[in-house]
Amino acid sequence: MTDFLHLLHHELLLSLVIVCMLILKLADRGRSGSSWSNLLNVLLLINFAGGLLIEAEGSLFDGMFRSNALLHFEKNVLSLGLLLVGLLATPYLRNHKHSAEFHILIASTLLGMFFMLSAGHMLLFYVGLELATIPLAALAAFNLNRGESSEAGAKLILSSAFSSAFLLLGISFVYGTCGSLQFEQIALTVSGNPLQLLAFTLVFTGFAFKLSIVPFHFWTADVYQGAPIPVAAYLSVISKAAVTLVFISVLYSVFGALQATWTPYLLITALLTIITGNLFAMRQDNIKRFLAFSSIAQVGFILTGILGANVDSEGIVLYFLLIYLFSNLAAFGVAGLISAATGKESILDYRGLHASNPRLAWTLTIALFSLAGVPPTAGFFGKLFLLTSGASLGNYLFIGIAALNMVVSMYYYLRIVKAMFMETTAQPIGKIPTGVAPAIALALCIAGILVSGLSGSFYEHIHLLTLSY
């Protein structure tokens, strides 16, 4: 019984938080949006802190659910991300009627991700994946009075259901050819016959869709643009990080035998993803759309790291995800604050931001520099390690193109910095009140970017953790 409690403690705690939120919501209908936010953020903090307490290793339900120190660490990272998103969302939720529901839905998606991460069986994986996706569609449509938001929600749920139908078809073929849905069993029986290759390809596209890998990425920018900014931030960071981690374990341990197939897949799609993401990002004026395409390009770099498939790769990707979480949340956080206060979401509106809001401008600059990979921000090390991991296969040409794209991306990240610091406009954004919660979140993000870049111990910890599993 204690074993059960220890192994499942993340999930149990989060479920408890969700149930608490539901009961509180039922019991107290009169609360204002901001007081809900504060209350629920405290719950999320408890959730994060509680997650840190216990570490246990083992499996439950006949191997359907697995847990170990690495998974605990990954879940802690995701919990931290959720807490940051919750803090950043407070200005947005201040005047929203349904701020409690926002938190309930977003916490449920995290629960889905936890199950997905710990899955040792296709069933749990699938259930987790859907639990992580369906509430997100509802969240994307959370601006109830705006057509764009509903459109984003509809696009997300339709295309994600479409992709999961293909994923399920793939899983059914895996079942037909392997006779089991247990990950370990599949790994033992996968041989690479054509039907299995087809099945794998279908599963691969399912992941590719969720990770917005080109050419399965079309939904991404539309959904980010239509969705409220906190949701877009969540989608681009937490959701992506969770799926990436599952993707790694599925590729490395379940379909490890098919490495000859997925290496060229990753190579081609990584290249396409980086280049497309960069090309599209260049021409965007809407900050959310811009961040959407830039995060697509980042996924391309993550794929480069996964491609390496050596002992260090998983640690490198996890490290990058951590940095990416801080950097992208900081960028989205600033964009969210500005949008919540003024409704402005165009890059052109950011002109002269430095003059009126120097702190926000600097925060966004550091975040963008980290995303662009300028030393000494952490993003640089993340990218460097990813490229090194990818280079271990010896595809120097590919790495060269990827590195060249780092320079291209420099160009458009710098565009925003230039707008903020060096341009002026007739109607600049006025002084924006930051509020306590978002300020804490942004400070944490910036600290994360700088500390994980300047101190080696972060990477060492992750490196050692992944080596032991």
């Binding site: 290759l197 087809l198 079309f218």
Partner: protein
């Protein structure tokens, strides 16, 4: 061995001043900002001179030593990244150069930037730049140098774009950043290749491993071949690409002339003495690897250097913007340093080029900073960069005039000024190595003397009446405050005596003292050529028109002879003005502007157009997306089942 505390203090003082001014001081410290920054740099400069003194006077053989280092990132078991302080002759020399020039610029800016509303920010950026440059200089490994390299890039971006309400300054800073970033990309890949092959990033270990002919690392790196060159060659060339980008070597120099949009003291700091010589420093740092393991790469350095040198000198003759002349002249002089490195060998007498190159770096820092600061004083006075707005300023600005003259004499290589000694060493090394290079270098030296004195005469002589009406002289300014004059005087002293330092005793390719014997005989030809250049410039530019006219009326006989001579001059003038300039100088400038710059712009525009075209794919209809999804899925499946099996 200088004390470690001093070394750390040299680095930390500018950093603290940056933190203080940048984070806390925008409003509160405003009146004190300049004093604070200047004082911290003054202490830094004193400490580095002191450290260099103790270092050079203590022992006779100077091997690189790591004075301090800390483990920073454990990348994998075999590869870790450290931060540290490397003490060796060139790092000590660079510490002195950077802190002294930076101190001068700090001091000078007190007057030059006075009244600017972002005075504090300016000093914060200046301190940040100095800190990053110092960090670059003392780097113990490739990685640390790269980090500071980028930091230097960022801070120079901030400084070039300091006048951000000027669109040209903004685009110049962006251009500088992007072009050097592009070059740094090569640097980064080069580091990856070298680090991967040698399994270390540490300079000392790397050099030891890659210069020992029997080492397995060297064998592994030189075995493979990609596009006809070994991994080692590629690695070194890519690293050099980074250096060429920062040092504005052809064809990556396009950012340098534009970067003159920054405040003039900044140009003196960044584009004369410190950042632009980082490339030279980098090659010097890895010199044993270049020289022993990979002479091919060194040949590339040689030819890049010589081409940049002569190319830039030609362009400089046709420029009318005072700062652009100086920018091209900087490029030309750095080309000199590069090719001197390129033709040098390792150890003993063969290493003369190495010593000469760094000697030239050392002297150049003084006289070029002097020239830039002098130009700054002139610009401050007439409020224009254009030569046509100047003239006859020698009486109004006696101190600047004197300083500028000294700078010009030094750069032209007239004894006993500093430039003479270092240039002479380079020419001696070139003569020993390759006569073709020697002659090209001589011609470049002549051109240098010519265009520098052309500039000198056009600013300070030429028109007697002074300045044009469009830009009235600001009489209140006078020559500027004492804080502006003092650096000019101090640097003038430097430009005179820096050449007397027995440089070979301290800096040589293998760490043992190199006794340099210069023969008077060898120096005659270069000095004559330089004097010829000066003579031609004097003849054409010293007076504009009034003098010949007076002479003509008072002395008819003299006039006839003069007239006859004028005939020869006419021919000469015809040759230079109508043949040499239009056929060589202008085309070179044109090539620079349209072909090299144009290529960069065209690449940008093409990317932009592709981006515009592919955007249409994102139709906004969920069914189209689903169709793309299926099409891609089928493609992948076909690939998987039929092609990869």
């Amino acid at each position: 061995m200088p004390s470690l505390n001093n070394l750390l203090l040299i680095l930390l003082l500018p950093f603290c001043s940056f933190l203080l001014l940048g984070l806390a001081g925008r409003k509160r410290l405003s009146p004190l900002a300049g004093i604070l920054g200047t004082t911290s740099l003054f202490i830094s400069a004193l400490l580095s001179v002191h450290s260099a003194w103790t270092y050079f006077s203590s022992t006779s053989s100077h091997k690189p030593e790591v004075a301090w280092s800390m483990n920073w990132l454990q990348f994998s078991d075999s590869l870790s990244i450290d931060m540290g302080v490397l003490v060796d002759p060139i790092s000590m020399m660079m510490l002195v150069v950077v802190t002294v020039v930076s101190f001068m610029v700090h001091l000078y800016s007190l007057g030059y930037m006075k009244g600017d509303e972002r005075f504090t920010t300016y000093y914060a950026y200046l301190s940040l730049f100095t800190f990053s440059m110092l960090g670059l200089v003392v780097s113990v490994n490739l990685f640390q140098i790269y980090m500071f390299w980028e930091l230097v890039g960022v801070s120079s971006f901030l400084l070039i774009g300091f006048y951000y309400d000027k669109p040209s300054a903004v685009s110049a800073s962006k251009k500088a950043f992007i072009v050097t970033r592009f070059a740094d990309l090569g640097f980064l890949i080069g580091i990856l290749i070298l680090g991967h092959g040698a399994e270390t990033l540490d300079f000392n270990t790397l050099i030891a491993r890659l210069t020992d002919p029997s080492s397995p690392w060297l064998g592994a790196l030189s075995a493979g071949s990609f596009l006809g060159a070994s991994a080692l060659t590629w690695g070194l060339l890519l690293v050099f690409m980074g250096g060429a980008g920062k040092s504005a070597m052809f064809p990556l120099h396009i950012w340098l002339p534009d970067a003159m949009e920054g405040p003039t003291p900044v140009s003196a700091l960044i584009h004369a003495a410190t950042m632009v010589v980082a490339g030279v420093y980098l090659v010097a740092r890895l010199f044993p690897v270049f020289a022993i393991a990979c002479p091919v790469a060194l040949d590339v350095v040689l030819w890049t250097g010589i081409i940049s040198s002569v190319f830039a000198a030609l362009i400089a003759c046709a420029q009318t913007d005072i700062k652009r002349v100086l920018a091209y002249s900087t490029m030309s002089q750095i080309g000199y340093m590069m090719f001197a490195l390129g033709l040098s060998g390792y150890g003993g007498e063969a290493g003369l080029g190495y010593t000469a190159s760094l000697f030239h770096l050392f002297t150049h820092a003084f006289f070029k900073a002097l020239l830039f600061l002098g130009a700054g004083a002139v610009i401050h006075m007439v409020h224009s960069n254009e030569i046509k707005d100047m003239g006859g300023l020698r009486k109004r600005m006696p101190v600047t005039h004197l300083a500028f003259l000294i700078g010009c004499l030094a750069i032209a290589g007239i004894p006993p000024f500093a430039g003479f000694f270092s240039k002479e060493e380079i020419l001696t090394a070139a003569y020993a190595a390759n006569p073709v290079i020697y002659w090209i270098a001589l011609i470049t030296a002549g051109l240098t003397a010519f265009y520098m004195f052309r500039l000198y005469y056009l600013i300070f002589w030429s028109r007697e009446s002074g300045v044009s009406n469009a830009h009235p002289v600001d009489e209140h300014h006078g020559e500027g405050t004492i804080s502006m004059k003092l650096p000019l005087l101090l640097l003038s002293v430097g430009a005179v005596i820096a050449g007397l330092v027995p440089f070979g005793n301290y800096v040589s390719s293998d760490g043992t003292p190199l006794h340099i014997h210069l023969h008077i005989g060898d120096a005659v030809l270069p000095v004559l050529i330089a004097l010829t250049g000066i003579g031609i410039a004097t003849y054409f530019y010293k007076t504009e028109s009034s003098k010949p006219a007076k002479l003509m009326q008072s002395m008819r006989v003299f006039y006839m002879t003069l007239h006859n001579k004028f005939y020869i001059d006419e021919i000469y003038l015809f040759i230079t003005k109508n043949i040499v300039f239009p056929l060589i100088g202008r085309p070179a400038a044109w090539f620079d502007k349209f072909v090299i710059d144009g290529t960069v712009i065209a690449i940008g525009r093409t990317t932009d157009r592709i981006a515009e075209t592919v955007r249409v794919m994102q139709t906004g209809r969920v069914q189209d997306y689903a169709l793309f999804f299926i099409a891609s899925l089928i493609t992948l499946a076909v690939f998987a089942i039929y092609l990869f099996h």
